[in-house]
Symmetry: C2
């Protein structure tokens, strides 16, 4: 996982390979208890220069006000979360998914987000055919490309952990996201590397290298045991779990990624903590580990 081929990235070890705090972004899900305005204010208070925005929080205040909020705060929008869920086969569901994703592209453009994160969707309801679901994902991304190119939005395909394959994403490994992205123009489609979802993969270093030029987002969250009852909420603060971040970060940098790094934590305990305490810990851990 060292930086072979990463000419000029200066990868020499964990410290040298890390991103500086000027590349830290707080994904809004980490402080899910806050509105967009409060999350933006939190970032400003803690010197966090970027934010990953969630669409439900945008919808609460409307797109214009959301855009004004992040601009007034001077925040860069590293991602909009999320589009996707492409695997409804009924006509109405299919139309709804495409319309919702077109709306997401418009929102991402207005926010100036570096990427629109795509969580692709699980198995087609009442079907066991993984190939069918995966073909629907590819087709739907293809259908989004012209609008994404017209509005200058880069779609970021994210693999979810294989434990979500049935119900949230049939795209379960970074390799699959790269295979998908390479079918489309690089200005329109890339991949998002999320440590929580891909850390276990013996092919991870190879696939990150293969993703060179296609990485449009890097998200960090730790794998903490035991898994909670709701397996969506098992992510922990960087350093609280078992993931070895420095080699993954080094590989992402060696592949040419120089964008923001989002700390994204879904965790009931984190949401119950004071947001300023969470932001402080996010900064400290990021500086020490990522």
């Amino acid at each position: 996982m060292t930086g072979a081929g990463g000419a000029g990235t200066g990868v020499a070890g964990a410290d040298a390979a890390g991103f500086g705090l000027e590349r830290l972004s707080l994904n809004q899900a980490t402080v899910k208890q806050l509105s967009l305005a409060d999350a933006a204010a939190l970032c400003v208070r803690h010197g966090i220069p970027a934010i990953g925005v969630w669409r439900d929080r945008v919808a609460e205040v409307g797109l214009d006000r959301a855009v004004a909020t992040v601009r007034a705060a001077g925040l860069h929008v590293s991602s909009l979360c999320r589009g996707g869920f492409f695997t409804r086969a009924d006509d109405e569901g299919h139309r709804e998914a495409l319309a919702d994703n077109r709306a997401a592209v418009v929102e991402a453009a207005a926010l100036g987000a570096d990427t629109l994160v795509l969580v692709c969707g699980g198995l087609v309801p009442d079907r066991r055919d993984l190939g069918l679901a995966r073909r629907m994902v590819a087709d739907a991304i293809g259908a989004m490309v012209p609008e994404a190119q017209r509005l200058g939005v880069r779609l970021g395909i994210e693999a979810l952990h294989p434990m979500f394959c049935a119900d949230r994403s049939v795209i379960s490994s970074l390799g699959e996201t790269v295979d998908l992205a390479l079918q489309f123009p690089a200005d329109a489609v890339g991949v998002v590397v999320d440590t929580y979802n891909v850390w276990w993969d013996a092919r991870l270093a190879d696939e990150i290298a293969r993703a060179a030029g296609r990485i449009v987002g890097y998200q960090v969250g730790d794998w903490v045991l035991p898994l909670p009852q709701d397996t969506l909420l098992g992510r922990g603060h960087v350093g609280d779990g078992v993931i070895d971040f420095p080699p993954i970060t080094a590989a992402v940098r060696a592949a040419g990624y120089a964008g923001y790094v989002e700390v994204e934590i879904f965790n009931a305990d984190v949401w119950a903590a004071p947001a300023d305490q969470t932001a402080t810990k996010v900064r400290e851990r990021f500086a020490a580990i990522c």
Copy 2:
């Protein structure tokens, strides 16, 4: 996932590709509430010709009596579960693991088991280094090979689902098991395909094909949502979940596997059901789906 290259296996569709009931084996874990003797009697009552045996149940009665029990019942032993857990780095833990695995090889030989299933172990305690853990697994398997060859036991490396990577198996995909197995003689080391652990993998068909000649066990269990609090117990009866068994079975057969198929279900509800009811359902579902 169709039977390209499977000369003579007659793969033409789900029915033609399936294994007959003469290849059904009941993994003892499916009726965990029963002793070895009771589980053997259950198999005989239901015309199930083979059993997958667990070492803790062997230890309860002693190896000689366990061997006598399965022989008297006329059962074939499709696997002994399990060896492995190779990733303790302290000297004592390392010695214990090797000694325990040597004992497991002796037991597998005495039982005439088709394979000794290896669950490789999670991260080294207090270490985040996946590479270290994976090298320890490879080294430990190598250390077992001479004894396995001497006693005619085939070691079967099983990938666990990636959600168990941290705590139970750093070997998380079928491809990794094939990579490992190919480092050792084919008479000593193979791989076990377990649907529950590998069904999500976009590379599954390719990796099963690459495993030709190395598949020493095929286990089936379904992926049922939601995951239970104890994620070890999420397996369901074949047909109760989302896994598409026929193409996986066809691929396993096309790769030349002609051994037993173990139904292995860890599930608190199944354990609470009457064992005869479980055995009846196992047979019915196997005949209809696998």
